[in-house]
């Protein structure tokens, strides 16, 4: 029996497809998310909107909190470590979390290097803004990719930009001849074998979710129609007026992403969505998506 193989790392992400992964801060939140139909939860100390509001250094959560959440639900539990923080990743692996998000939402620990994720048995998910960044993370061992979007804003515009960029670059590669791929790999800053794999499969070689700014059922379905495999919702659930109803509605909209009448029904009377931010009003140092390379 072989554990921690690439196949089982990528495989768990395949089981999450078509689903919604929700940020939760407490065991109580986690139960609400599971009850609403979340396929996994992301355990963290503060949701991104609060990280943004509080400022300071954002770190891995207290292990006590993560364990409480793991004990509260049977769906997979993910947790975040800082970019390049090898030891936070080791700690999360020792706790038995099901996936680690090496995340730009936390303050980076290393501004040059990401964690070498092949060294771990636990799988990792990482954010990207374009195909080159996605393939660099996969080459380091990420078994799942998500768009970065701009977390904690309730504004879908950056997630759309990142998903469009990844999908557009994949379509471009599909139309290239074999002898053009080496130069394309150089331009993308990505290993040529992964660029060849993208051409062969016509998609990223791992599961690809959307994240960063999903606030409504329609936002979730929009990302699915753009071609992602599933959706992360951060602040959008527990910063909404009625988290339970919003959570259920986003799950329905993601499952039935091609049925506007079902999305319309799910969207009725949800109360106020989380307050949103115009990305153009943010200062350069307030942008999270530019963290990592």
């Amino acid at each position: 029996m072989d554990t921690g193989t690439w196949q089982v790392k990528v495989g768990l992400a395949q089981m999450l497809k078509g689903g919604v992964i929700m940020d939760v801060v407490t065991a109580e939140h986690a139960k609400i998310a599971e009850e609403a139909g979340a396929c996994a939860v992301m355990a963290l100390e503060r949701v991104p909107a609060d990280i943004r509001a509080t400022g300071g250094v954002a770190r891995m959560s207290d292990p006590t909190k993560i364990i409480e959440i793991m004990e509260a639900v049977t769906i997979p539990v993910m947790a975040k470590c800082r970019i390049g923080h090898i030891v936070e990743a080791q700690v999360l692996e020792s706790l038995g979390v099901d996936y680690i998000d090496e995340s730009e939402v936390l303050t980076p620990a290393d501004e040059a290097n990401h964690v070498w994720k092949h060294d771990f048995k636990v799988p990792f998910v990482c954010g990207c803004r374009d195909l080159g960044e996605a393939l660099r993370r996969i080459s380091e061992g990420a078994a799942m990719i998500r768009t970065k979007g701009e977390a904690g804003t309730g504004n879908i515009v950056e997630a759309v930009r990142h998903a469009r960029s990844v999908m557009g670059e994949i379509r471009k590669i599909q139309n290239m001849s074999q002898d053009e791929l080496a130069a394309e790999a150089k331009a993308l800053g990505a290993p040529v074998d992964l660029v060849q794999e993208v051409k062969r499969q016509g998609r990223l070689p791992v599961v690809n979710f959307a994240a960063g700014g999903v606030a409504t059922p329609s936002d979730g379905a929009l990302m699915m129609q753009l071609g992602v495999d599933g959706v992360f919702v951060g602040s959008g659930i527990f910063k909404a007026a009625d988290p339970e109803r919003v959570a259920k509605a986003v799950v329905k909209a993601v499952t039935h992403f091609n049925s506007p009448e079902i999305i319309a029904e799910a969207s009725k009377g949800l109360g106020d969505a989380m307050p949103g931010l115009d990305i153009r009003s943010l200062k350069e140092e307030e942008l999270l998506a530019v963290r990592g390379w």
């Binding site: 072989d2 999450l16 996994a40 997979p76 038995g96 499952t255």
Partner: protein, 193 residues
């Protein structure tokens, strides 16, 4: 004979992976998200995914009773991993509520957390001599088989991981994640029988 139509429950999970294998078998396929999409199916696959999530979504669109009724009318059904859990009669921790179609007791997440997920070669007599490479992800096991349900495969420690009861099939692992289509062909032979 007409080409059979096999549906894959597409509420959540790796339904696309099942559909990709089915498309190599020269049959008609369909994604199933709503009760009306069960009509005329010769077989239904309940894929891998999160059993809790699928159970909630099955109830939110009233799929539970129509699936049970179609299986009683003779539609073949196959559950992989989360699908096996949903087909069970009894679950060790009583949640989520399963469909209760196959006479077996099942324990969810029976091997531990994701770091304990594994792959291994299984001997499966109904597929022939060549072992079947099986991927187990936060997998369940069948604790007990009742009423003449047939064991198809077990691990060296004796845990049952595949079983058949009449036109119903259950595997704790994911034949849809490997390139070996023998389990899909076996299910197709059940559909056609």
């Amino acid at each position: 004979m007409n080409v059979p139509t096999i549906g894959v429950l597409a509420l959540q999970g790796d339904f696309a992976e099942h559909l990709a294998v089915l498309r190599t078998l020269d049959i008609d396929t369909r994604e199933v998200r709503l009760p009306a999409e069960l009509e005329g199916l010769d077989g239904l696959i309940i894929p891998g995914g999160e059993s809790m999530t699928m159970a909630k979504l099955m109830d939110s669109y009233a799929l539970r009773e129509p699936i049970r009724a179609r299986v009683r009318e003779g539609m073949a059904v196959w559950g992989t991993c989360a699908g096996l859990i949903l087909l069970a009669k009894e679950l060790e921790d009583n949640r989520p509520e399963p469909l209760g179609l196959m006479d077996m007791d099942v324990a969810r997440n029976a091997f531990g957390r994701q770091v304990d997920s594994f792959e291994t070669d299984l001997s499966v007599a109904v597929l022939g001599k060549q072992p079947f490479h099986a991927v187990f992800i936060r997998a369940p096991i069948i604790k007990q088989l009742r009423n003449g349900i047939q064991e198809l495969a077990s691990l060296p420690d004796g845990h049952v991981v595949a079983a058949r009861q009449e036109r119903m099939l259950a595997t704790a692992f994911h034949p849809e994640l490997t390139d070996d289509a023998r389990f899909h062909e076996y299910f197709l032979s059940m559909v056609n029988s």
